[in-house]
Symmetry: C2
Subunit: 405 residues, 2 copies
């Protein structure tokens, strides 16, 4: 496995970490990515919706600017990936139908439509008949819906595979290892060491470990020169208490489950969403007939066990919207941990510790925000201006608000 010195170490090889690594390597930087199980986190469980409009929430205006910007970057991002790797990542510009479950839900969709319009987001209200004409597999009798023509999808697992290949092709070194601690010189972060003791020094470390970002930030730090080989140093002598508390990103794991079914590839034409008796559910049809159903949302710590009740509820609600789903093949249950953030906005940027950037807290929008996050972080490291206003994502906003409170 070995150690080494490099320009950038990225901790985390999910879609966020690899996108950053790839963009940095494209700019001529030497990059190493460390992950004990690349792409096994939220990257694997995600459904890959790219949905600024239908994921819009009333409190979410600052987030909207980011999601719209990143959605606009997607066509170029995907085209570049295809050029670099020859991999089709299943980017489908299929649009999204949000079906209303009942009259109250339809009224809520009308309000959402008005809110979207006030922000310049195009969407269209549909009658019951228009909804069913757009997606004949929908249950009869739904009162109407909303058509979001610009909410698309990508196959997140294929995206991860392509990013891995593109990063490798651009010279990124991928190390399958768990980070065990930080390397510091004075107040500065100068690298990480793995659990097995390998040291990776770098001018910049980017913490992109998703739901595990806080736990990684809380690992112990080692200061001073490397321990000379062969010399046994008493445990703890060179270990400090770790990084300052204010750089620990306040991410929390938000457990999500998705199901994967498989039907004929022409079963659905669009992403279908709904809120069945208030409970949100979506169905994302891939080009190969795979149907991703999501997603549960639970605050259950780092427990990754799929909950039988969540499987049941997703199947129930998805079948109520699309009865034909009862007849298709059941392929998989997947459970992941979203990196939840206190204000539902990610943390992207520098910290109070020199040499340490973070890119985490993407919560429900990690796949969508990957192109923007990668461009932003690469810009911060190289000094290029990617034209992204990161004020709302400043990782230091939480420590600041504590000071001013």
């Amino acid at each position: 496995m070995g150690s080494g010195a490099t320009d950038v170490v990225v901790v985390g090889a999910g879609v966020i970490g690899l996108s950053i690594a790839w963009r940095c390597a494209q700019r001529g930087l030497a990059v190493t990515v460390l992950d004990p199980a690349p792409g096994s986190g939220a990257t694997w469980t995600a459904a890959g919706m790219l949905a600024p409009a239908t994921e819009l929430h009333y409190e979410g205006r600052p987030l909207l600017a980011l999601t719209l910007d990143s959605a606009a970057r997607y066509p170029g991002f995907v085209a570049e990936l295809a050029d670099a790797t020859g991999v089709d990542v299943g980017y489908r510009r299929c649009g999204t139908l949000q079906a209303a479950w009942d009259a109250a839900d339809l009224a809520a969709l009308r309000d959402l439509h008005a809110f979207q319009s006030s922000l310049g987001i195009e969407s269209e209200l549909l009658t019951s008949r228009q909804l069913r004409a757009a997606e004949p597999a929908l249950a009869a009798g739904l009162p109407g819906g909303l058509w979001a023509a610009d909410d698309h999808q990508i196959d997140n697992r294929m995206l991860h595979g392509a990013l891995r290949r593109a990063a490798g092709g651009a010279g990124v070194r991928e190390v399958t290892a768990r980070v065990g601690g930080w390397l510091r010189r004075g107040q500065q972060v100068v690298g990480v060491r793995t659990e097995s003791g390998d040291r990776f020094e770098a001018g910049t470390v980017v913490l992109a470990a998703g739901a595990w970002s806080a736990a990684v930030a809380e690992l112990p730090a080692q200061t001073g020169p490397s321990t000379p080989a062969g010399l046994q140093v008493p445990a703890g002598l060179q270990a400090s208490a770790g990084l300052p508390a204010e750089v620990v990103p306040p991410v929390r794991p938000v457990k999500g489950q998705t199901l994967r079914l498989r039907g004929p590839s022409d079963l659905l034409n669009h992403v279908v969403r709904g809120a069945v008796r208030g409970s949100p559910v979506y169905v994302v049809p891939r080009g190969d007939g795979s149907l991703v159903i999501g997603a549960s949302s639970e605050e259950a710590g780092f427990d990754l066990g799929p909950r039988a009740g969540a499987v049941y509820e997703l199947l129930r609600d998805a079948q109520l919207l699309l009865p034909v789903l009862g007849e298709v093949r059941f392929d998989e249950v997947s459970t992941g941990l979203r990196p939840g953030s206190p204000d539902n906005l990610p943390m992207i940027g520098g910290t109070v510790v020199d040499g340490l950037l973070v890119a985490t807290g993407h919560y429900r929008n990690g796949i969508l925000l990957a192109p923007l996050t990668a461009d932003a972080v690469a810009g911060l490291i190289t000094g290029e201006d990617p034209g992204i206003d990161l004020t709302a994502c400043d990782p230091r906003r939480f420590s600041r608000s504590e000071v001013s409170a």
Copy 2:
């Protein structure tokens, strides 16, 4: 892989085939078992209920004699397996609670209880309060139930593993290969050949291929001497049309799905069954906390894809009986094909073709009937009398009834 001559060839290494092979080897016979994927069929998907009483149906008196006999053989069978292998096969004498869903269902259970009593099977009607006291995780408000103290369970997967080890220890040769055709000498069956051309000659061939038994019986036959090595024989020259139609066992695949959840090992004390709005469901608690939920029943040919609607219905009905199941871990969906029989009775015994025995068509009772089937077939081959009346299981009954019709 090689070929060979042996006393007995068993086609099929599920629980039925391996039990037969083991019993034959114990009696000094040289046995070879062939299967392309040992134990991957109904053996793997089964829940392992040993339930003569609660599986009793009004038309099922002849079956009852067999299931009671085999249930009585289980303690000795399991003890011998444990002696031979050191493997605990999860035989739990836990009894079975059949919960009534509503008043009509309770009335049906009262009738079943009376029918059981008339046949000398012990069971006990329970009040709502007694039912809940016996199994506190049951939903509140169920009107009563039936206690079948002698309906137990076994871990069918551990049973299969133990049988494999015991058979191997007794000298059974297991060959991982798919049978491609029959070897005949005159009217007699004298062995099988594999798809890759290996020949296995035997004094007796036992067809125990579960749901695939008819398809195997319909394979082409090869008569006359072996093809000399190196000599290319024109295709078809030595191939006859196969075995006579009347020895093809009329088994059909009946698709079943089971789920495996996982909870605390003390969640349930007994097998729990019910018929929620007429739809049967059962939950079998293993000693390790695994909870097997079954089982769907569909006539869908040889399709092995798990159906999303069946997963949904099993979770729904199991949760209606045992609400706590919504909170436990979802581990697995398994799909298997039961070997259905026209009269729901197995086919065990000789055929009109010398050298060919069949042991198939066990439908919902393959695990339960394994000890009886193995003793019966070993008795038929060695001439020992196992004390089993196989009249109702005679494989020739279907061709006879066609003649008399």
